[in-house]
Amino acid sequence: MEQDTIAAISTPVGEGAIAIVRLSGEEAFTIANRLFQTKDFQQVDSHTIHYGKLVDPKTNELVEEVMVSVMRGPKTFTREDIIEINCHGGMVSVNRVLQLALREGARLAEPGEFTKRAFLNGRIDLSQAEAVMDLIRSKTDRAMSVALKQMDGRLSSLIRDLRQQLIETVAHVEVNIDYPEYDDVEEMTHTVLTDKTTYVKTEVEKLLQTAKQGKILREGIGTAIIGKPNVGKSSLMNILAHENKAIVTEIPGTTRDVIEEYVNVRGVPLRLIDTAGIRETEDIVEKIGVERSRQALQEADLILLVLNGNESFTEEDAALFEAAKDMDFIAIVNKSDLEMKLDLDQVRQAAGDAPVITTSLIHEQGIDELESAIGDTFFDGSIDSGDLTYVSNVRHIQLLEQAETALQDALEAMENDMPLDLVQIDITRTWELLGEIIGEDVNDSLIDQLFSQFCLGK
């Protein structure tokens, strides 16, 4: 019956060594082909496993190296074509892979849907039907309570507000259609509708942006410590780690051997990047090379730039400021216990709006100031999440992405001068998609809106 292709993370939530994204349905292979541009899974033998590089088809960016199991129906769990992508453990990578699969045309599976399909396609024994029904029920109830917990109050009120604006607009179009002689309302125009649509699209894009920021919050703020050799980077690292009980996670088997440490500084989770490099060699550039250090910088959300107060400002320091200039960073003038040879004005000038903190890491001085500077950077909005409404749920992200597409379609239709009642199809669709996020019933609310907004009748 349902021929569409479904996808879900089919390993338990939490930290495991690997996590699996499973796709089932007619398009499982073609979706996988789009994610692994170099492979054609239609051509490989069934029930085989393949190494591949998973690439974001939109940006051509390498996402991860993974193993892919290919199983052709009907000899599969659901009797449909199945692809299983084995990712590295941790929610970040597996969520990313799932999101890409959804963007390429899969639908997020309903709770218990793989099992349901297995049953409907005759894979599961009749005697288990009741168990299957119970499974759907319990999984749905659990998913609902989890979804409710995940739903940020600010997010739902924001979405409610967007929906209200959309439905007022749609009701306006509808009243023009169903009551063409009603003269109390101006005829809705392409201009008005374009403005409204553009506004909602911007808001939806902002929300999608927060999905990234939400990720930062959960995954920690990627923090890189940079500086010339022997300025105190490892001391800084050790102090942050020691004071805040670092959790060291080893990420094995990836393209890079990186040790990341998670520390929580005044409620702000930091993920210290490439600390191994710093620790062992005191020089990130030396250890991983210029290219790699640039990459490390790129991945960072926050940079701690360490200077030696006992030395004058060098070209190398200037180069570091140059590298950090478009990012959030904090300049740390260390070794305040020694004679100050650095021109602080020059440092402040180079730092621009970024804070400059003076420390003596050896004597553990200035740590409080540093930590509060990190907190300020975080809550000030320079890493914009102090008052952040953020989207984290994969289903929500998928719905928002679909809403973004629908709004884009509406805008394009208006550019092509399509009649408003057709443009409205995509706007109504957006309204429905946003409704799904907050679990609001669509039944009849448009008609309610129509009659509360306008005075109609014979």
Partner: protein, 628 residues
Amino acid sequence: MYDAGRYDVIVIGAGHAGVEAGLAAAKRGAKTLMLTLNLDLIAFMPCNPSVGGPAKGVVVREIDALGGHMGKTIDKTHIQMKLLNTSKGPAVRALRAQADKVLYQQEMKYVIENQENLTLRQGMVEKLLIEDDQIKGVMTETKACYYADQVIVTTGTFMRGKVLIGDIEYESGPNNQRPTILLSEQLEELGFELVRFKTGTPMRVNSHTIDYSKTEIQPGDEVPRAFSYETTEFITDQIPCWLTYTGEVTHQIIDENLQKSAMYSGAERGAGPRYCPSIEDKIVRFNDKPRHQVFLEPEGRKTDEVYVQGLSTSLPEYVQKKLLETVPGLENAEIMRAGYAIEYDAVVPTQLWPTLETKKIAGLYTAGQINGTSGYEEAAAQGIMAGINAAAQALDKEPLILDRSQAYIGVLIDDLVTKGTDEPYRLLTSRAEYRLLLRHDNADLRLTDIGYDMEMITEERYAMFNRKKDLIQDEIARLEKTRIKPTKEIQEIIEEIGGSQLKDGILAADLLRRPEVKYDTIKRIVPTEDQLPEDVEEQVEIHIKYEGYIKKSNQQVEKMRKMENKLIPDHINYDEVHGLATEAQDKLKEVRPLSVGQASRIAGVNPADVSILLVYLEQGMRSKVSNE
């Protein structure tokens, strides 16, 4: 009591539902009897003298494509006709006609009298004859017993009807006709759930007492128009309507007298329609509006009565008079009939199958306003479907259920029997998910085949229809393969319509897809051998220009159909379905949907319940197979 004869189908009532029901049943070959209170009030319009409008106008065309008569009759008897929403997309255009009420009735009565298999009788039905939950016939108050295994009740607002004007109230059907009390009582005794609804109508004033110079003229279209695909003669001498407005003083009078309105005096009253509010409702709910529109609509060619659209009211007559005095053009208007509200019993429509047969009593159908709808078109739509299905049952043929992608009629009936309604139900274009597919211009393409299969469309008309279909297909095919070269001449034509120049050759269809290009331009560039009929050109243009949207809609329809095709056996015991939420269980037991698709549209049945239902059905099917 005497035996007055045996029929296949009996229709009680001859309003807009009744006439279509009787005609449809008779055309299908069932021996049909129509019983009505008053032979002079067949297809009577107790409220506004108009037919059509957005969504409703499309329904009239759908009825016509199925072989019904509303369209043909209004084509012959209107005083003006308009195509609405011409500045909008093709999906929402619709015709509306102002009717000559008397002529409409006469014409419809004549059609009925001349219909083979159809008998018309005056009589008040007092009792339904029922044995073992199967309808057997009806008995009139004159004690005539007519027997039939199919009976369609189309009693409109007559069941326990009560007219209200100010503090006056009396038992009555619309326009002071006798109400039906016993039928209501019997339905209740049989266990039917009834609900109390209300509606209203404005005063009619004498045309000679209106100062039209203070109003704005509202003429019909100059181009001749018609609802029916069979109409070949068009009315050219049209009569205009007029537009005026209420003002602050009007609103003040209403406000001061609100307590005197039957609907605002505090008594508990039935639910009224939001889309057809009384002027009292408008003032109360939208008190910031400085004025409301009032349309003056002549009720016919040979009458002075003018319908005052916009002033539906149940205020006392003297207040009605007073408020007219404040409306420009109506200062001296004489009321010929006062406005009134009417309350009536309706059958809760979730008690019906999608064929409009009641679930309780086999062979008993209800159609029209009795099912909680409002509007002549909604009534007629149910009438024709009930007639088709009652005849099918009598003649042992397949029932006809239209789905939501086939017709507004399908949307209407599915909404009624699946969701019910807590106010008089009116069709709106926004109720349809596939509005782009349910256009007024393609009603024939959607439904003529069905009408023909039902033997309700003549061979002649069907041949004409097939010719049209072929012409459309041929022309689309031609444009999809004709390449236009960027010659100087063609570039000039394109420049003339404000398009950008061709760089290369282009398919005619692709050129038509450009926003600024119309079929007329294509015709100039690549003319057809013979001039195509206008409606064919229109179809070609819509089909090509909106192809993207149409395809999208069709994909959604396909998805919906898969669920519609998952049938639920009638004997299903929802108590046995493990894991269904209690609310879903209750709703499913009430509605008894025929398919999983219908089940999924019931409020309170969520996607998990639908999944569980699917698993349950699969289980049943497999155990059946294994038992055999």
